[in-house]
């Protein structure tokens, strides 16, 4: 399954695809959730929500 299919499935609301994307981008989210050298759990949660929203909002040409 390539990225496009994965994204389309996640957009359709398929949970496993969403989780796969979340796992895939986890390192990026964790990196951005570090605040003043401390991992901020709340911020991490916010960023996870941002990812899920991005999946919904991102437009496929």
């Amino acid at each position: 399954m390539n990225f496009k299919e994965l994204l389309i499935r996640a957009k359709a609301g398929e949970e496993t695809s969403m989780i796969m994307l979340l796992e895939m981008y986890k390192p990026l989210l964790i990196k951005r959730a570090i605040c003043n050298g401390i991992f901020d759990e709340d911020l991490y949660q916010e960023l996870c929500i941002t990812l899920l929203r991005c999946i919904q909002v991102f437009r496929l040409q």
Partner: protein
């Protein structure tokens, strides 16, 4: 499971686009979050500022001032005082309880004597208005 993305085929290009999109969104959310956090911090500081200032006064000020505020029998007055913002409350209490003069307060707050007086009387008017509202 995931191979290196060289941006060669359609799916890889799409993935790059999505990643860029996500990075942008995440960065914005992060900035927003930090801004909110800073604002919260500032507000907490402002709340703490008043009791700290009390310590600089004499012991009498502390004891005569504190219980009075806590034991305000008049609920309406308490609510009226609560509605004031931090600076207004500080000004009001320092003038009434700490008996600081307008000129001292003016120097403290970096405004003119007249400015402080005006603010003080505006606060008084505000409190009176609130009390009147509560009476009705």
């Amino acid at each position: 499971m995931w191979q290196k993305n060289n941006g060669r085929n359609e799916a890889e290009i799409l993935q790059n686009q999505f990643t860029a999109y996500l990075v942008q969104a995440v960065q914005r959310r992060r900035n927003e979050y930090i801004r909110q956090w800073l604002r919260r911090e500032q507000m907490e500081e402002a709340v703490e500022a008043f009791p700290l200032d009390m310590e600089y006064g004499t012991m009498d000020d502390m004891f005569s001032g504190l219980p009075l505020f806590m034991q305000l029998e008049n609920n309406a007055l308490y609510h009226a005082l609560k509605k004031l913002n931090e600076q207004e409350r500080y000004l009001f209490f320092s003038h009434v309880l700490d008996e600081k003069s307008f000129s001292v307060l003016a120097a403290e707050m970096h405004v003119s004597y007249k400015g402080v007086a005006e603010r003080y009387y505006r606060i008084i008017r505000k409190i009176k208005k609130k009390l009147k509202e509560a009476d009705v």
